[in-house]
Symmetry: D2
Subunit: 368 residues, 4 copies
């Protein structure tokens, strides 16, 4: 009956509701001496901010972060860092009907059962995708920590509906293009097709899903604590905490299930005096420990549950069947805005493990 904290060395605790006063995060375990400004976090938040493109929800939130604790004279102190974003553009009146009529695909019904009718139902309350604001705020710190040890985290949209990237994309292209188009895709031509795919379902009052690929570069061999705190299991756990995620796979993923060992095994060679593998079907992880090759994973998102079409549901207090038609402001496809969220989640897990493994020191620089 708790569970709003995650991580063992770098611990993220989240709070807040989408139509409450704010979304907040406490990050505990950040080493002292990291330079940290409001802008560092704001930059990351801006990547997922709603209301910025034609294919995103019209809800306008400035999402201005406030640092409430743990930073002093521009550096982290080693004390817990509390970050908040206030909710401003709330229109809860749209949500009165869902108090009684749970929306298909949303958590309305299960939260009603679990919390005996006491949960904040407005906009999904604690179960809205808006909780990922806290992942991104915390992720901003994690990314800065990882940068200290030259680890970089990337993510990009590789599928929206039936439009899917089939070729390998260079890291350079991902860095350049992902945040230059409204769908988070690194290939401009496909980005255009994906946008069209979304606009099409929008017109139909429908929604569509997609897949985000995440990559971590520069991760040394040896991160991950077997057998239960393996790095893949921790990444997977974190990703499934993003609303709408229904699948996670690493490296060759489910495709490996139809391969032979001789096809799937990554053979070792020596390159520039370093042991590397010829292929990376493992996605950079073997036995739950990083191999030194890039970590590669894919996160599958279902289509946004909120659609304008009429749907069957039940009236919870009358216990009778009925219908629901949603108004309100929703992303027709959550995937574009999920890109920075996936990035943040990957960064959080890696920073946690880097501290656990002693790869990140407890005091980052000397104070003079």
């Amino acid at each position: 009956m708790n569970g709003n904290s995650i991580g063992k060395a770098l611990v993220l605790t989240c709070f807040g509701e989408t139509h409450g006063q704010l979304i907040g995060a406490v990050i505990d375990g950040c080493p002292a001496g990291l330079p940290l400004s409001r802008e560092d976090i704001q930059t990351e938040l801006n990547k997922r901010r709603p209301g910025q493109t034609a294919v995103s929800t019209p809800r306008k939130e400035e999402d201005q972060v406030e640092i409430l604790s743990g930073v002093f004279n521009g550096f982290t102190t080693g004390a817990p860092i509390c970050l908040i974003v206030r909710n401003l553009d709330i229109k809860s009146e749209n949500y009165e009907q869902i108090k009684e009529k749970p929306r298909p695909g949303h958590a309305d019904y299960v939260t009603h059962v679990k919390y005996g009718g006491f949960s904040d139902y407005r906009g999904g309350g604690r179960f809205s995708g808006r909780v990922t604001v806290s992942y991104v705020m915390a992720g901003a710190i994690a990314k800065k920590l990882l940068k200290q040890i030259n680890i970089e985290v990337l993510a990009h949209t590789i599928q929206i509906g039936n439009v899917r990237i089939t070729k390998t994309i260079s890291y350079e292209k991902i860095r350049e293009n992902v945040y230059n188009n409204p769908v988070g895709c690194a290939v401009p031509e496909l980005a255009a097709l994906m946008e069209k795919e979304i606009l099409k379902v929008m017109e139909e009052g429908d929604s569509v899903g997609g897949v985000v690929e995440a990559i971590a570069l520069g991760v040394p061999a040896g991160l991950g604590e077997p057998i239960f705190d393996s790095v893949d299991s921790d990444i997977a756990k974190m990703m499934f905490n993003i609303p709408a995620v229904k699948g996670v796979e690493f490296g060759a993923g489910f495709r490996a299930s139809s391969l032979k060992g001789s096809e799937n095994n990554d053979e070792y060679i020596i390159e520039n005096g370093k042991i590397v593998s010829l292929t990376n079907n493992a996605g950079g992880i073997l036995g739950g420990i990083t191999t030194g090759m890039p970590i590669v994973l894919r996160v599958g998102f279902k289509p946004t549950s909120s659609i304008a079409k009429k749907q069957r549901t039940v009236n919870l207090s009358k216990m009778e069947e009925t219908e629901i038609q949603l108004v309100g402001r929703h992303d027709p496809c959550i995937v574009p805005r999920a890109v920075p969220v996936v990035e943040s989640c990957l960064a959080l897990v890696l920073a946690d493990h880097a501290i656990r493994a002693g790869m990140l020191p407890r005091i980052l620089r000397s104070r003079k």
Copy 2:
């Protein structure tokens, strides 16, 4: 630098190495008053015991469980339960070469790095699939606990290499057939094809992967602690702790990424006075909380890393490229023996959450 415990209310701690003395598990948090015998656990262990079929490793292990603590007069006491299985049929001489030459696809190289050359390399040591003996021992207890509240856990092979089940299988068929054939498939004709697929790669000195589907029946709505101890994230974490797993998906899974919301949403109706959904694309989980519909997930396994074919690798002490050819006894496909492991892992997470949610009482019966 630890991580051999998992669970919050029902905590599993594992120890032991494949070519060490034993594999062990401590289960802490089991309610008092559960009747528990050696046979209860042995029955489950027998399902994954090696050396039983033509498509499994010739390593012969009796895998006889011993209950060392926590059970008194046939009932659990509420104290931690320690279970062990001794390793008997060990041929470590086959593994001397891997001390220096890491096997592609295995954890040899990463453990060498992580533990500075001190890890037990024999047969993969702590990183062998044999550690799943402890999951199955603990899972046996979890299943008995779940039975108290009428939750049943099933698993079956749905794919081996390129042979894949395409139709829906009844729960009845799964219960009847899974442990009646050497591949864990509920459809006899497909089981035969899967066996052939494995025999074919065996002849080639190769291996093959596959997919296991797991199902939990009777789970009430309301299990799962958001946002980070959601039931799907905890199940995924547990599954990725099974060696060779590269993907996990729930319900419609990655397929949902190409669906529209109107296709993917599960509409609610009332059936026999209970709220159910017309479809179950959610796989029984929304917002990380169970919906009352069956939990359905798929776990993708890569092909066994040990193959008889010659592979490129490096010599760690000489830091030069070389080749390796494995002898030793391996499963050409890990999937059939993974079926009871997946079952156990699902049972463990659900029992943990059932206790957390107060659905399983702390004393199971009254002592007279």
Copy 3:
């Protein structure tokens, strides 16, 4: 390098610095359906508010609590509850000298070492007694939870300096008198003497210590999870997190060390059909589990470290010996204001254990 969370079922996460913006607490795991208002928490906070008596610090803080999340329509929702109190009356200029010259008895030197000079030194920063605001805020919720199952928590000052209570005080007297005098003592005549003791040291520019006794009534037998989450070890751990605590003892405590078994053992009898003990030297706890008798413990506080007298210290950057004379506003004796803090800490541990033991349901009432 973290550690700002405590509790397993009811988890308290704290943040904030004494001269920063605020002191905050996130309470995760509170059952849904608890009526909770700002006043519920404010009432408790007012008990420890500074600046109210002649023997307390002149720092004037209104300590007005704000509920930022987790409460909806007057009831807890099951989501994490974030509470904050803003710091208003800050005079940090008094603290510039301690940046270089650590105050004896305070954490200045050790935090300087631990955080490499990056910690917020103003007023002790994260290590000020002001962090106990978060314990009291969380304790207010814990007390309300315990009330649901008829558990009451009391605390009172039993010693200040050399003035010590020697007789047993009735619970009634404690309830009536503790918050009616400036020292938190239940015996009016002794309260007067204690106040005099404090005024005397104040005049000398000195400070004095004392002892608080805490009692929990109505605790049923069976709380506590052995062997490491025993209820006494968890209470002790929590109490040592109150700044200035140097000793904790239960029941007969250290006095039991000079007793014989025949003197110390509490014999069982039956009273009104219930098993009780004739004496309570155990302080309500045996084997780490509650006995059903009142929990009784004593918490020893050292004298306030801040004194006006000149003291020897060192200059950290010059690494030379020097002296320090403190200005600033301090309690000459922390004990009176520690009474509600000790109460809160006891309540928090008991509420945590009550939820773990299944004595507090996850949904407290039915919503209609």
Copy 4:
């Protein structure tokens, strides 16, 4: 309903019952590369072995440790280390009466309630002082780890009944004398008096309590994770997990409660280029963090609950008052044998914190 694990970086999980098959411990998180032999652990176990002196229980246990996992070729591997000691000299028939008639001072009654009558009552089962065998086994490893960073842990008896040490004892004397006499006291003359005190109560069929002081030398400043994982709160928690402990105090302890700040504060000076304090009333800990001065604490033990005298109790199944007279083999004073247990507990907490703080590397030496 669990709680048999403790520690965050170095995690100890315990299992086993005093009249069951064995007492066991799993130590997870031990760095790789520590030389570890059976003798290392046996040496520590021998210090607490029963049946060795006139003032200890006549129960004869060889207490031979077996290392079941985690050690390979004489070094720790980084994998969990399982250690067990088998119970050999069991006479459970002495304990049949306590099934119905709880012994005053023991956990019989509370475990009966907590576990609904299913707990192993023989000899106290899981609640016997014999569980401390696992603390000592784990402590042996902790001590070896601490030795790597030049931390030494000492403990000695300072009080038995009314015989109490009043002078300061040199560390040298403690090292030399503690294990040379049957009561664990460093002052030979007092040791003789203490032994007499115990023999006197033995004759009376009674028992007596006492106090153990523990000291840690060489601990650098900066260990401890505020605010809830402070090093004093973690030490206190661990100590209260030793059966019969009723009080814990650090440095000046409860005596500080009657001191003035000017008397209690430890002023800083520079000695040999290092910052030290003139006194050590803090017991080496300020704000929950180590100061670099010796850690000093005292642990108060109640008299052994098992006495030969007739005592009042109740019959649990008949719910009527009755009497009990204990036969069986008991220590008339637990304190002498608690000395190595207190040592081990202190070592465990410090080793855990040393790993957390990054003071102990994850790989202790390089493998060549």
